[in-house]
């Protein structure tokens, strides 16, 4: 790692790392061969096809307040980029708030030509905050034109069941194999800048720069991790190393991105790898519904039958299966049998019970019978 001071206008510090640098359980070079398209698509960004993750800029900001608003300054913008065998992180630093315009020009100049940014919560925090500063300095609004691959929404879905917290530091510890030592907690960062403004001593900000550098390196490895999974999932191959609960999360992310078939593969694989009963039931419900939406009615029916066979305590598989018999197969007798089975077997709330009874009565009426009849 080499550190250069004031290598360019507006850049206070430039950290150059070998692409073989190891951050947690990955090397930065992992990004070189990783296609950006699938992860981009998973994050709702369709225009990254043909790019690699290493073509993107990795951006993270530090601000003077934890909330938003016109009075919160962005005082540090760290931008990491792959350049000819190195990974270079440039720290743009607001040395004097009066010269914020120059600072922002330097940042814009650097990020404006990139094919896209990678951030963690950039959509709701870093970029709106930067946009506010640009507007206040009569340079904005100008950021909507930049593609931003925000990893947070994807990470939230993927690790929703597996991890209690989906913060970057939690992901580092549980997923990326990286443990932060002597790091500044995020909520303390603003006070470091205040102290700098009061004393003029930049040396005190070293821990903040270091914090920002590590955030950016984690962004790279997190993008690689998610990128690899997205790539496999896109090809219909559920990733081998994922925990079943991560697999459910990944399936959920696929579903949210409109990847129906890919999501069914992941849901199915998660069930196959073994989930505890409650997750298994819930996952089957999701899987069955996706199949139904995809028009794969037989596959859906199989899932509902499996759910019932596995002892699902919820009426959903019964209702769905009854609907299937009624609407797809036109087999009212079977439909009624399924509804009656639910009424007989399940421990139902009175609301659920009356809904099922109404359904049974309606089926009976359609069959020209009255009241509840045993199924033959």
């Amino acid at each position: 790692m080499t550190i250069a001071s004031r290598p360019a206008a507006g850049v206070l510090e430039e950290v150059r790392l070998s692409i073989h640098h190891r951050h947690g359980s990955r090397h930065l070079s992992d990004a070189l061969g990783s296609p950006a398209g699938p992860l981009g698509a998973l994050a709702g960004l369709p225009d990254l096809g043909g790019r690699h993750l290493s073509d993107l800029l990795f951006l993270d900001t530090e601000t003077t307040g934890l909330g938003m608003g016109a009075g919160t300054l962005v005082f540090l913008v760290g931008v990491g980029r792959f350049e000819a065998g190195s990974f270079v992180v440039r720290h743009f630093f607001l040395e004097e708030p009066d010269r914020e315009g120059d600072f922002l020009d330097a940042v814009l100049d650097h990020i404006g030509r990139a094919p896209g940014l990678v951030t963690f919560n950039g959509r709701r925090f870093d970029l709106p905050q930067l946009e506010t500063r640009l507007i206040l300095n009569r340079r904005g609004p100008c950021l909507p034109g930049i593609s931003n691959l925000d990893l947070l929404p994807v990470a939230r879905r993927v690790w929703k069941l597996r991890l209690e917290s989906r913060s970057l530091s939690s992901l580092e510890g549980h997923v990326l194999g990286f443990v932060r030592e002597d790091d500044v907690p995020g909520w303390l960062v603003p006070s470091f800048y205040r102290e700098y403004l009061l004393t003029g001593n930049r040396g005190r900000l070293k821990p903040v720069f270091h914090h920002n550098l590590r955030d950016i390196l984690s962004l790279v490895t997190l993008a690689c991790h998610l990128g690899a999974w997205a790539d496999e999932a896109a090809a219909g191959r559920p990733p081998a190393g994922a925990h079943p609960l991560e697999m459910v999360g990944l399936a959920h992310a696929c579903e949210a991105a409109g990847w129906g078939p890919q999501s069914t593969a992941c849901y199915g694989e998660a069930i196959a790898r073994g989930l505890d009963a409650p997750h298994q039931h819930r996952t089957r419900e999701r899987l069955g519904r996706v199949y139904r939406r995809l028009g794969q009615h037989d596959a859906a029916a199989t899932v509902w039958q499996q759910a019932i066979a596995a002892g699902s305590p919820s009426p959903v598989p019964y209702v769905e299966l009854a609907r299937h018999y009624e609407r797809v197969r036109g087999d009212l007798t079977q439909a009624l049998a399924v509804v009656n089975a639910a009424i007989d077997r399940l421990d139902l709330s009175s609301l659920q019970r009356s809904a099922l009874s109404r359904r049974a009565a309606r089926l009976c009426r359609r069959m020209g019978m009255s009241g509840r009849q045993p199924a033959y």
């Binding site: 608003g69 016109a70 009066d98 709106p128 506010t132 206040l136």
Partner: protein
């Protein structure tokens, strides 16, 4: 005609002697003016659809002034079509240029909702105009669209303060094209609230200027003494006054009614509530549609119960449903339903708290009964204005309670019917209020060196904020650098940042319902105190003094609490002095030290003392402004020391109660202290100080009004039928001391004789 029957009975029956004044206000035909030729054809069509074929003269004047690019303040009575004064020109403008924007400010969310309904009705679906309310209830999902697409944003000052200005970059579209700002109900923006609002307007103009916009202001006010002055102080720009209503009115009777004395010695009168109930029952029996206003939530409930019972007996078949409460907290559609009921005659009587504003259209009612003076002449006229037919007669009856102010008013109808004497006063440069908004403004945009916030220079404040490490001083500009969010820390309804928070624990989930400034907290939030919030009563269960939190629970009691404290006052600087008056007058800056001692429970209406208790809390200090008067030696030479003290207390009591006639303020906004021998004046002195740190301008106005105030005090105490002081004049003898009334009059008469001598040039003996 049924109304006439009730009036005849009132004029000739046994209650006739309680009527202190009966005025007949002549009706007036409409003064009409044509729609201006420039009005957009679709607006013309929209008006025609609503059956409006011409404007009232004041509406036409407002439209012209606004078309000339002037700021305007419109002062007109209730139900005179004031909203068209701003809606027409603004909608017209937006129809021509859809990228221009307008911001409407109403003091409450309920009024914003009313306004939105009005605008939607005017625009209909065919005019492509997007109007939205933006307040705490606006769903998060809708906010982005509102920010970028709304032509007219209807909001309240608190939301502008914490939700819009600090995030102005998200409101780019609004601020870049902000063409009009409407501020309605400006008579409500006086004192502390008004001083905050003026600073909020300064911030709004500053942010708009950053985006290159310079909005035109349209303001509306109820009748007060100085609407144009208040308006131009609020926006710091000249305004055109439009105050001659062209709306038609029918003949109207205005009756001032004083309940009979039931205990002459103690000066206790029959409860105003009972009198109101009796009178309302008479209207009910005669089938006269009416509104009844009461001063508290409890009084409202009592009246509703009473009238429902009466209705059940009088109106068989309809019964109780003919009487409805009309309370705060009702949703707009519930209010609309009651208003429709009143309009269509299904509801015959609605009982409302004074605090509640009514919606835009409750139709034409025949009678308004006010149980107690609503606190200001402006609001009394607003309430009375709810009765009134375009043709045919209507009546408003004001029933006095036994407080000195009520008593003064019913006995001095000229105050009521003359030009409104109440001044809306604000002091945008109050140091604490200004400093708070400088923080907010620095958060919103960096300050250039030498820049000011409105008319106020701010570099000295910024120096202090820099010393406290809240702002950073750059070579050219000041930048906010603290992590905190200043607007969240500043409440527009109180002066100091060090507020006590009031937490309602009635429901399982506690919620904050209000704040009280630090100096007043011991007096308003001591344990067992009854705290009034939007006319709901709460009792303080626990005051956590170090944490500045008061825990309260909703109650329904027939008394309020009044705390007393040992107050000492120290004059720090004298701004004005005039020893030539008798008594002499001064105003200046003071340090008030207050040690709470005890509280009393006082019954509503009769002001009886129902018991008392001690308060054990530490003393508080406050810098504020005060007005004081001091006696010359000859004025008190004939009085024994205890008589002198009683007399001074009597004068102080009267002053505090009379002052709200001249200032748009509450009796609680000012307080008094007497000193038999003041260390500062070395003479017997009565101080009236402002209860808000730094003051909002009351003291200076009282200094100016010195002679009128004393004349009012004199008349009130001389006319009071009590033997030696009562709650309706100088205070009960048991509290201010025996001989108080005589001593008070002697002090006040000495002044008037002296004044007479001065006026006639007769030499003093």
């Amino acid at each position: 005609m049924p109304l006439q029957e009730v009036l005849d009975e009132l004029a000739r029956g046994k209650s006739a002697r309680n009527v202190t004044c009966w005025r007949t206000l002549a009706g007036r035909p409409a003064r009409l003016a044509p729609f201006p030729s420039w009005l957009h054809p679709s607006l013309n069509a929209a008006m025609e659809r609503r059956g409006i074929t011409s404007l009232y003269s004041h509406q036409a004047q407002a439209l012209e002034a606004i078309a000339r690019g002037e700021n305007a303040v419109v002062v007109t009575p209730t139900a005179s079509g004031k909203t068209l004064c701003y809606n027409l020109p603004i909608v017209d403008h937006v129809l021509r240029d859809g990228s221009d924007r307008a911001l409407y400010l109403f003091p409450t969310k309920a009024l914003s909702q009313d306004q939105l309904a009005e605008l939607k009705d005017l625009c209909g679906s065919e005019l492509n105009l997007k109007t939205y309310t933006y307040d705490g209830d606006t769903p998060r999902s809708a906010r982005t669209a509102i920010r970028s697409a709304g032509h007219i944003i209807v909001t309240n000052p608190d939301m502008l303060h914490t939700g819009i200005l600090p995030h102005h970059t998200k409101w780019l579209r609004l601020f870049q094209r902000l063409r009009y700002v409407v501020i309605d109900e400006i008579h409500q923006y006086r004192g502390v609230f008004g001083s905050h609002l003026a600073n909020l307007v300064r911030r709004l103009k500053r942010v708009a200027a950053f985006y290159g916009a310079r909005p035109q202001f349209i303001l509306c006010s109820a009748t007060i003494a100085n609407p144009a002055e208040l308006a131009s102080r609020l926006i710091e720009e000249p305004v055109t006054l439009i105050d001659e209503s062209g709306a038609p009115t029918g003949e109207k009777y205005f009756i001032l009614y004083n309940p009979p004395v039931v205990d002459r010695e103690l000066g206790i009168r029959r409860s105003s509530l009972l009198e109101a109930a009796d009178l309302a029952t008479r209207f009910l029996r005669a089938g006269v549609p009416m509104l009844v206003f009461a001063r508290s939530r409890l009084a409202t409930e009592v009246l509703v119960t009473y009238l429902k019972r009466a209705a059940a007996g009088i109106l068989p078949g309809v019964g109780e449903a003919a009487v409805r409460g009309y309370r705060g907290g009702y949703l707009p559609h519930e209010r609309r339903e009651i208003e429709r009921g009143l309009r269509e005659g299904k509801i015959q009587a609605a009982v409302s708290t004074s605090a509640l504003e009514l919606g835009v259209d409750i139709g034409q009612l025949d009678a308004v009964v006010m149980a107690g003076y609503p606190g200001s002449i402006a609001s009394a006229w607003q309430q009375a204005g709810r009765a009134g037919r375009r043709t045919g007669s209507s009546v408003a009856v004001l029933i006095a309670d036994s407080s000195p102010l009520n008593q003064y008013l019913v006995n001095h109808p000229d105050y009521f019917f003359g030009r409104s004497p109440e001044h809306g006063l604000i002091n945008p440069d109050n140091p604490q209020i200004l400093a708070g908004h400088v923080k907010c403004a620095a958060f919103e945009l960096p300050f250039q060196r030498g820049e000011s916030l409105g008319a106020a220079p701010v570099d000295p404040i910024l120096e202090q904020l820099a010393a406290a490490a809240l702002v950073h001083r750059g070579p050219e500009r000041w930048h906010w650098m603290a992590e905190t969010y200043p607007a969240e820390e500043i409440s527009l309804r109180s002066a100091s940042a060090e507020n006590f928070v009031i937490i309602d624990v009635t429901q399982p989930t506690a919620r904050a319902i209000g704040e009280v400034d630090r100096f007043s907290a011991p007096l308003l939030l001591h344990e067992e105190a009854i705290y009034l919030h939007e006319s709901d009563q709460y009792q303080v269960e626990k005051l956590d003094y170090p944490e500045k939190k008061a825990y309260v629970r909703a109650v329904s009691v027939d008394y309020y609490t009044d705390a007393s404290s040992a107050v000492s006052i120290k004059v720090l600087a004298r701004f004005q002095d005039d020893p030539s008056r008798r008594p002499g007058r001064s105003s200046g800056e003071v340090l008030v030290t207050s040690l709470p001692t005890m509280f009393k429970k006082i019954r509503f209406g009769t002001h009886e003392n129902l018991g008392s208790g001690p308060i054990r809390l530490p003393e508080e200090q406050m810098h504020t402004t005060a007005y004081w008067l001091y006696l010359s030696e000859e004025a008190y030479s004939g009085l024994r020391p205890e008589e002198l003290e009683a007399g001074l207390l009597g004068v102080a009591n009267l002053l505090v109660h009379i002052a709200p006639l001249y200032l748009l303020c509450d009796v609680r906004d000012i307080r008094s202290v007497v000193e038999v021998r003041s260390p500062f004046t070395r003479l017997p002195t009565v101080y009236v100080y402002e209860r808000y740190p730094g003051g909002v301008g009351f003291a200076d106005k009282l200094y100016e009004l010195h002679d009128e105030l004393l004349a009012g005090c004199r008349e009130l105490s001389a006319a009071c039928p009590c033997a030696d002081g009562c709650p309706s004049c100088v205070g009960p003898a048991s509290e201010v001391g025996p001989g108080a009334k005589r001593a008070t009059l002697s002090i006040l008469r000495a002044g008037s004789k002296d004044r007479l001598r001065q006026l006639t040039g007769e030499p003093r003996s």
